[in-house]
Amino acid sequence: MSLRVFPQVPYASSVPKPAISSTQVPELANHIVVSKPPAPMADALNMPSEPSSHPLESRLKNWEQTQFDLKMENLRRLFGTHEPVKRVMELEAVNASLPLYPDVLRRAEVVTGNGAPGSRTDPAREILLGRDGIVDWEDIYGGMEECPLDFHTDLERRIKI
C-alpha cells in the first residue's frame, strides 16, 4: 500500500484501435424500450476502462479513488487494520441498499463495488465519505444522460410490469 496523493499518470504512447470490422455492425440498443437515450459512440470508441491519452482524463477518473485509498491507508497506519475495514464494511452496507433506491434518489450508479466513491447523490454514502459538505461540478451540472426517470416508470421497469 502506498501513500499516493494523486493518481499515477499513465502517459500512453499509442491509442488502441477499436476492433470494428466493416462487415460486423454492432447491435444498437432499442432506446424506446429501455427509455434511455442511446449512449454516445465516443464512449465506446474511447474505451472508458482504458487509460485515455489525455493525462487529465485518467487523473479525474481516478481522483476520488486515490484520495479514498490514501485516507484508508493513513487510517490503517494510525489505528490499525480494523479502522479501514470497518469503514469499507459500512460503505458496503450502504452500497448493498442502493439497488432499492428509486432512480430519482441515486442519479449515478455505483461504479466500483469496493466501497469506492461512485454515486454522488446518496446522502448516506456522502456522509460516510465525508463529502456531505462539499459541492462540486457533478452536484450542479447533472448531464442529460443522468436525467432520472419518473418514479412510476422506474418502478414499473424494476418489478417488470
Partner: protein
C-alpha cells in the same frame, strides 16, 4: 458526465497530425491587486474583458463575492473564475452551516487550491482571495495550478508587473484604509495605462473588521467616453414627406374606401424623375 469532456481529444490529435490548425493559447489580460491595512483588507481590479486582441467587455466585474466578508478578484479565464468562486461560495456556506462558525479565508484558500490542483491548471483561475474572519484580515493569492501565496500586498494578471511596481514603491507598513484604497486604485491605474490587456475602470472592495464588506463599483473611471463634438441628430421634419398612404389593417374592408393622400410640397425638395 458533467465536467471536462475528452471525447474529441483523439479526433483533434488526429486532425492536428493531418495538418489542420489547432487553436493557439491566448494570453488573458487583467490587473488585480490586493492590499492589507490596519483593521482590514482591500482588493481592486480593472474592468476590461478581452478575447484575444478584442475588447469583449469594457465594464465587466472581476470582483466576486464568496461570502459576505470574503471577496475574491479573478484573472485568467473569466468563466472559470466566476464558477470556481460560485462553487466555493456554496461549499463555504455549507461548511459554515455544518460547523456553526463564520467561514475563514484559509478554509476558502485550501478548498480552492485543492480544487485547482486536481484540474492541473486546466481550470484557468488565478485569484486573489481576501477577507476578514475571526482571525483578522487575510490576503492570499492562488495560481491556476494550485500554488498559493501570502502577503501584505499582492498583484496578479498580465498587468501585475505594472501594479507591483506601484505597490513596491508606495506601500508601507500600517496603512490607513484611505491610503490603502488610493494605493490599490493607483496600482490598477498603472495596469490600465501600461498593460494592453487591462483597461477601463477601477473596481474596489473594502473588507473591514466588524464591518460589512463594501463594493465600490467603478471606484475610478479614468476612461470615460467624451461627448462627440457635433450632434448628428436631426430635428423632426428635416426630411420632407413625399407621399403618405394610410391603409386600414382589417382585411374585409371594401376596396373602394381606401384613402390615398398625396402631399405635394414642391418648395421643400426636388424629386428625381
Amino acid at each position: 458526465m458533467p465536467g471536462f469532456n475528452f471525447d474529441n481529444y483523439q479526433r483533434n490529435n488526429f486532425l492536428a497530425a493531418k495538418g489542420y490548425p489547432i487553436p493557439k493559447a491566448t494570453s488573458t489580460g487583467t490587473t488585480i491587486v490586493g492590499c492589507r491595512f490596519d483593521g482590514g483588507v482591500v482588493i481592486a481590479a480593472d474592468t476590461r474583458a478581452t478575447e484575444g486582441d478584442i475588447v469583449a467587455d469594457k465594464n465587466c466585474e472581476k470582483l466576486h463575492r464568496i461570502s459576505p466578508t470574503i471577496w475574491c478578484a479573478g484573472a485568467g479565464t473569466a468563466a472559470d473564475c466566476e464558477f470556481v468562486t460560485q462553487l466555493m461560495s456554496s461549499t463555504l456556506e455549507l461548511h459554515a452551516l455544518s460547523t456553526g462558525r463564520k467561514p475563514r479565508v484559509v478554509t476558502c484558500l485550501t478548498l480552492l487550491k485543492q480544487h485547482l490542483f486536481k484540474y492541473q491548471g486546466h481550470v484557468g483561475a488565478y485569484l486573489i482571495v481576501a477577507g476578514v474572519d475571526p482571525t483578522g484580515p487575510r490576503l492570499f493569492s492562488i495560481h491556476a495550478h494550485g500554488s498559493t501565496d501570502v502577503g501584505y500586498y499582492l498583484s496578479l494578471g498580465s498587468g501585475s508587473m505594472a501594479a507591483m511596481a506601484v505597490l513596491e514603491t508606495k506601500w508601507k507598513e500600517s496603512l490607513t484604509k484611505e491610503e490603502a484604497m488610493s494605493l490599490c486604485a493607483e496600482a490598477i491605474e498603472a495596469g490600465i495605462w501600461n498593460d494592453l490587456g487591462s483597461g477601463s475602470n477601477v473596481d474596489m472592495c473594502v473588507m473591514e473588521v466588524d464591518n460589512p464588506a463594501v463594493l465600490y463599483r467603478n471606484y475610478r473611471t479614468p476612461n470615460e467616453r467624451s461627448t462627440k463634438e457635433k450632434s448628428y441628430k436631426f430635428a423632426r421634419g428635416t426630411t420632407a414627406i413625399l407621399k403618405e398612404k394610410v391603409r386600414p389593417v382589417v382585411d374585409s374592408v371594401p376596396f373602394d374606401i381606401f384613402e390615398e393622400t398625396i402631399i405635394k410640397d414642391d418648395d421643400k425638395m426636388e424629386i428625381d424623375t
